[in-house]
Symmetry: C2
């Protein structure tokens, strides 16, 4: 648990640090300076030192940080030594794509449960994962020690599903719908929102901040 004062901004940078450090380790680089790591990740070196200090990680003056130690410590912080079983709610296009996607299990997030409220889907299976009715959510979440809930339903159902996940004791939720969900304080929610990302991109297209080359000119709709 170390210090305890880790800002959300720092947490958000940890995956990028780790990615770069794993590359350095693969290239047999044994130590790295905050300056070098900062450049690779695209942040300021003082920020790197701050972030590492907040994790209780120290380097050696005049030398830098030990790459392997950094990889180990950040991996532990990110919980990468453990498996976090996942429940996916919604077996539509997205839910099935997730069930087919092997990258989740490879990263320590095996899908242990796939749920859908369409009775016709119950009993079918996707990539060897059986689809269960949502009515069994609470029992199955407990039975399979689910740690992370993924909401892959239509937006209208997002809050209802979130409530059911929280009631079943799930404390981490990944919301793929455009609908923001309200949860108690101790529950952590992240949103992966394609619609919002696209709208932000089109804002910049629209403003011409991303253009002037001739392509990317809008076509009028209808």
């Amino acid at each position: 648990m170390s210090s305890g004062a880790i800002s959300a901004a720092t947490v958000g940078r940890l995956p990028a640090y780790l990615r770069s450090l794993v590359e350095l380790a693969a290239a047999d680089t044994s130590t790295v300076s905050s300056d070098h790591l900062a450049e690779r990740v695209g942040v300021n070196s003082a920020t790197v030192r701050r972030d590492l200090a907040s994790l209780g990680i120290t380097g050696t003056r005049g030398v830098g940080y030990d790459v392997k130690y950094l990889v180990f410590e950040i991996s532990v912080e990110l919980g990468l030594n453990q498996e976090w079983p996942v429940a996916v709610v919604g077996a539509g296009n997205l839910g099935r794509a997730l069930a087919n996607y092997t990258g989740l299990a490879e990263r320590g997030f095996p899908i242990r449960l796939l749920l859908d409220n369409d009775p016709a889907k119950a009993g079918t299976s996707v990539s060897g994962i059986e689809v269960h009715p949502v009515s069994r959510l609470a029992a199955l979440v407990r039975e399979r020690s689910v740690a992370v809930g993924v909401i892959a339903t239509p937006a209208e159902a997002a809050q209802e599903v979130a409530d059911a996940l929280v009631a079943a004791g799930v404390t981490s939720i990944l919301n793929f719908t455009a609908h923001p969900i309200a949860v108690p304080d101790q529950v952590v929610v992240r949103r992966v929102d394609l619609a919002t990302e696209l709208q932000i991109l089109s804002f910049y297209q629209q403003r011409g901040l991303a253009s002037s080359t001739g392509v990317g000119v809008p076509l009028e709709t209808s």
Copy 2:
């Protein structure tokens, strides 16, 4: 184009404002106060007034803001009156899922081009969209007026694909790989990064900030 000084934070909130405003419009609410809108979106009312003012939108003292006008103005700002043709690079699991996903076209981002560097895939089609070899990227991007490039390749290819898109004149890129890409200033990049989101969630699980209920207890790997 109005004022011009719109912060990235403001842009990031526009989709949420719009979502809430569309709901209000559907419920025939004609005006809304910054206080009410703020509560719905989960921000401070001064922030709402700031954001709207930065878009050049004014309300009426004692009354509030006109809902329909707000919907119209924000839609224009977000470029929602236009279509932004999309090129998806990578016809693997993710690329095909995107090609199958109707939500993109519904939101004004029709997929006009699907590319893959596997010669065996060239000529096949997904949801009626033909797969072309990556070698034809530049020509087809121009021919089909592509505005937005989506990178759905393995992470290793991300930078190379980004370079090709930029060279072809694409100025908005949505990167689905975990690999950050470097682009010239005038190009806008957004990343949708499942791996990072999951790692952030597992950080909080690991720290027990999202727990104490008994479920979500980690299982040791290997």
